[in-house]
């Protein structure tokens, strides 16, 4: 089960550290940091059911407005 209760002892300190690692970065660099962070944390959690719950919550309420770069194929 994904824990959505407070689990970090010092939330303000965590948030400050999270912003700090993005300081002075371009959007691309920031995205690279985020991607690494997500991968590291996901592996640490390990539990696929928890990860899926977190992914679903992250995606919640965001309506897709982009497109997929593959083409439907028929042969």
């Amino acid at each position: 089960m994904l824990n959505t209760e407070t689990n970090i002892a010092a939330p303000d300190e965590f948030y400050e550290a999270l912003l700090a690692i993005h300081q002075d970065l371009t959007p691309d660099q920031a995205r690279a940091v985020d991607a690494r962070l997500i991968l590291l944390l996901s592996n640490h959690i390990g539990d696929m059911a928890v990860l899926r719950q977190a992914m679903a919550r992250a995606r919640q309420g965001i309506e897709p407005a982009g497109h997929d770069a593959t083409i439907a194929a028929r042969a």
Binding site: A35, R36, L39, L40, D68, A72, A73, A75
Partner: protein, 530 residues
Amino acid sequence: MHIDYQLLRFEYQRSPDQSAAQVAHHPVVVVGAGPVGLATAIDLAQSGLRVLLLDDDRCLSHGSRAICFAKRTLEIFDRLGCGDRMVEKGVTWNLGRVFHRDEPVYSFDLLPEGGHHRPAFINLQQYYVEGFLLDRARSLPNIEIRWGNKVAALDAREDGVELTVETPEGDYRILADYVVAADGARSPIRRAMGLESKGRTFRDRFLIADVRMKADFPAERWFWFDPPFHPNQSVLLHSQPDGVWRIDFQLGWDADPEEEKRPERVIPRVRALLGRDAEFELEWVSVYTFSCLRMERFRHGRVIFAGDAAHGVSPFGARGANSGIQDAENLAWKLALVLRGAAPDSLLDSYDAERVAAADENILNSTRSTDFITPKNESSRAFRDAVLELAKDCAFARRMVNSGRLSLPSTYRASPLNTPDSDVFDAPMVPGAPALDAPLGDDWLLRRLGGGFTLLHFGASAPTMPETVPAIRVVNLSTEEDAGGVAAARYDARPGTTYLLRPDQHVCARWRRFDPQDVRAALDRATGRA
């Protein structure tokens, strides 16, 4: 003697069917003499059937197509009587290396344990594979191959399929009980029947340069993401026989395929990889795109689709020809039993169930690899690059690096032909799994299994089969024979452990002790009679 299989041309010969008063009848017609059609024909002929193989062309495949042939395929070729030639000619390899920019990030051994007769992979040009299969097919008197015979139309009826065949001397007709459509990705038979293969095409293009040179790269699969000599794209290098190297450059969707094939464009790309002074000759150049797709069903009454006609994947993972050969072997024994009246026609539905599931597994793996190699948007690129960067010092990320998950045989877990376990086992040889090899002194377990239903029994002596059980081959493994205990370990065997293996060497049932009633029931189930 060296034979250039690419240059072989086969005679079109008039067959008596073309002037027969009555439309000639054939139990089974295989359409397409590619690797899949050839393997199907050999397998059918080995079980005693008369097979007609038709091909519209008069030569084997040429240029760069499949090169990587997997362990399971080699084991099938062993059963088809041409495994040794393939392995002797092929370049054996087990190791893959992945580089990011100019740093090695990861390497994988595809066969980390010993005790297998065949290596994880060999690299061998498709024209050799087809050539060796063809040589084998020609040694079997009950296969007739007709070159320059193109299936132009077909009428699939309840009681048989009438084929209209086009030849240089005009059309003729034949009647078949069953047709195996192994007529390739564009499958004219599929089209003639109004059927489709559906899926996705990836927006990317790849350049293949096969170059002949003397080089001292080891016989390994090397894959680069974003190397300095080809920035932002990937490159794959493979060694082939005859001093030929396959280099596969990712080009991106916007590349102009015609332009990119010109030697003036290709040579600098190759030089960038090999070094300015490298001496090489271009053997073959092509630009390809690919799709992951399959037909909804592979069986349509008496017409059964196999290989590229039924499904398609990206080349990363070498799952095209390898999976097609597994289609062939799955289909051949079933068709042989049905045609001999030893199994009901419904047994052929299990081909559809098992191989559609296998195609889905291949497509899933292939799509995942492609999504890694060709990120579809900025965020997939960010994650891809993050995985590659982390892989330098984080073990978990290395497992996510996906440059192609190389072909493994499918386990038919949900097959209707399986008898579910009633005893407890902890080996991976679940019902539906392909049998694992093991060393038996100078011999190998898979070589001992043969090509029919086989009872593999572990114990001091073979059990006696009562007459109520149809005659099947019994292979008994005593502890003396399985001296290293490798077979017993791989099959989690104790004295009395009994496996029933299908003609395609997949497990269909297993027990802790031999009971003829159980064997009989499992055989009935595995042949569609239960």
